[in-house]
Symmetry: C2
Subunit: 423 residues, 2 copies
């Protein structure tokens, strides 16, 4: 996978199918160069289109170490059929649709299902005029998929546990779980929404939406080419995140290999999704130094307490005048540090959200936490156990949704999502 | 008001207050050139910052004819005090905050309320590294503000009616009404959210959030400099919208004048907000020609039926082979046309939304309709009456929220929002 990032501001029109007589038929056989978006009408292949396209194929799925895009649409789905063949067919259909949409094309080749103007359009149309906008689509399988419906029980990875209930969790069942998930990231929310909507549509009769979450303002960066964004507490988030460039750390902490127990997961990873409501009104009444002690970093430049600049290595042992550590015992970055977690790290890829208001006078705002790790039992779970029991930040947040998914490895040019599991 | 639009893709850092010792004090007196964002640290005044700033001041509020930005955060608020002086003080505070934020600065001059690190930060911080992103803030007053609490009954414009219940409305009280509204539009959702959040924060003890809505993908353009965006039915929306360049039409159809009855509203307008849930799954099963007959336009290029190109004038009288009009009697653009509405037009400025899922397997998606007109009694109401009773589209949509606001005129460099009403 070669992430190719760039600006998405130009209104590069690469989708213009409907109403253009014959265009669908003429272009149905057009090829797609790997990583490059092709204008289906006339083969214009602009530099701008190219730099906004992320290759769908590779050893790992895109959307994990891809430099974080600005917008997210995440959907968890229930499988409503017990027919394994239908599910496999859908995964093949989804894969083909994802190849097309991530290249900036309509979801199907000829724009209409079953033939022309008297059929429902094959693509819902709202992204027709928009470039690929670095769209990535990432699919995962939840623990419930491995029940007795599809004969997959023996292939359930031991890492794909039912996540425990952590102290202070207040989970809404309507915001958790799922047989499948689709993570759509793009630099245009309309492109991400279009992609999820069209996959959901293709799943009619096989899947239905269980829950769905929009996010913005990527709350972690995943590449050293990006500046560190801020969460809704106003702090830089992800300074010490695992980055795409850290290939050794990725191999150790993120990518599953065959020796982990399930060969079909080699090159895959495990995704933990947590909807974290932030009580921003309460947070906003905390004094600046109090906020900084809770996080363990300065609010302005993101430097760890006791350090001068954002990327200076964190030193948990620096003491203040009173002999106490400058980074307090109950601060977030201490408790989440691999130093205090036997080396365990995770790759975060969360987004900020505001879902309207809460009915009692506040904004319903927070962080939709997405993290990838090789074994949630040894990485996410002990980290969250420490945070939920000791983190001073817990006074200001509440986990309201939770889900866990096995993210299979990447797809080859002729393969499909989950081929190793079902094939 | 001089809208100055441009690209927002660069990570121009213009907000960097926290943690930079003394910067707040040193810059507290920095001036703001009209329409130009100023970097508060060192006075860098980049071209990029300039082109992403929309002037806050003018005869009319910004955010009405300003070329539609990509993202919306809209909030309706209840006033929780009965103290008129507190409300006026808040409007003054909000105005000053809006001057700063629309110029790309923090919400308050010195970054901390009441003095330094031991006070809560004056700005919540999540937009510190982001450019102004063409942020506009537009404030309105709902019918309920003119009750007996603040002595404003005699100043209630007769145009500011309580909107009637239209056929097929299914209004959720938790998504309608409000004493005040704030419309934040920007090309970065984090900037829009930051602005609303900080105004809400400043209102603590005086106002509280009643309801709130995020939107994306501007579903109407308001300037001939913009391409026409698409709504979640996949159609271009706003081809025949009133545009910023149509100054005569704006004078006639949008801007109130003193002769309209309330001199304080001269230069203002009236905003109708309607949350329109779209049943996209049902729509997606309609055939292409059926969709086009419901809308009255081609899906691909947006040309009206019977015309060749998007901006060809609509001709409602063109007949097909069977003698029936090509644009059907129950099509949306016919019923909403000023030809069939005695010349009445509105300026639309809506946004697409997806608010998670609906709990029964679908995305909770639709259009957050925002429209400005001079007299909702003669413009929006008859239009909506015609649509709600005859529009073939009603099978696919449901109005779930409704609100009406008087939008006062623009603010002078020393004025404040609502000065004419309260002054």
């Amino acid at each position: 996978m070669t992430p190719q990032t760039g600006t998405d501001d130009g209104a590069v029109s690469r989708r213009r199918l409907f109403g253009l007589a014959g265009a669908g038929a003429a272009l149905a056989g057009a090829g797609v160069a790997a990583g490059i978006g092709i204008d289906r009408l006339g083969g214009e292949n602009t530099a701008q289109a190219a730099v906004t396209t992320v290759d769908f194929h590779g050893a790992h799925q895109a959307g994990i170490v891809t430099p974080t895009q600005q917008n997210l649409h995440f959907a968890a789905l229930n499988v409503t059929t017990k027919d394994r063949a239908k599910l496999v067919k859908l995964l093949r259909t989804w894969t083909e649709a994802a190849r097309r949409m991530t290249a900036g094309q309509e979801v199907v080749a000829n724009g209409a299902i079953g033939g022309g103007a008297e059929a429902p359009p094959g693509d819902t149309g709202e992204a027709l005029d928009l470039p690929a906008s670095s769209l990535t689509l990432t699919v995962g399988f939840g623990p419930s998929l491995f029940d007795d419906r599809f004969g997959l029980a023996a292939k359930r990875p031991e890492q794909l546990i039912d996540l425990p209930l952590f102290p202070k969790d207040k989970l809404d069942p309507a915001r958790g779980g799922g047989d499948l998930c689709v993570q759509a990231c793009a630099n245009d929310p309309q492109v991400a929404v279009h992609a999820v909507r069209n996959l959901v549509r293709l799943g009619f009769g096989v899947t239905e939406v269980r829950w769905s979450q929009l996010g913005f303002g990527r709350s972690s960066s995943t590449s050293r080419t990006q500046t560190t964004p801020r969460n809704l507490f106003g702090f830089k988030d992800g300074t010490n995140n695992i980055k795409a460039e850290d290939t050794d750390v990725l191999r150790e902490q993120v990518w599953a290999d065959a020796a982990d127990g399930q060969p079909w997961m080699a090159g895959g990873t495990y995704l933990v999704a947590r909807r974290i409501r932030m009580h921003i009104e309460t947070w906003d009444r905390e004094r600046l130094t109090g906020q900084e002690e809770i996080i363990g970093r300065k609010k302005g430049d993101g430097a760890a307490l006791g350090q001068a600049a954002e990327f200076d290595p964190v030193d948990l042992h620096v003491g203040g005048k009173d002999g106490k550590p400058l980074i307090p015992e109950d601060s977030h970055i201490r408790l989440a540090s691999h130093e205090t977690l036997n080396g365990a790290r995770i790759l975060r890829r969360g987004y900020n959200f505001v879902d309207g208001s809460d009915g009692v006078g506040h904004l319903e705002a927070g962080l939709f936490f997405l993290a990838f790790n090789r074994d949630s039992r040894r990485q996410f779970v002990p980290m969250q156990q420490a945070l939920s029991t000791k983190d001073a930040m817990m006074e200001y947040i509440q986990h309201t949704g939770s889900a866990h998914f096995a993210i299979p490895p990447g797809v080859s040019e002729k393969g499909y999502w989950g081929e190793g599991l079902f094939g």
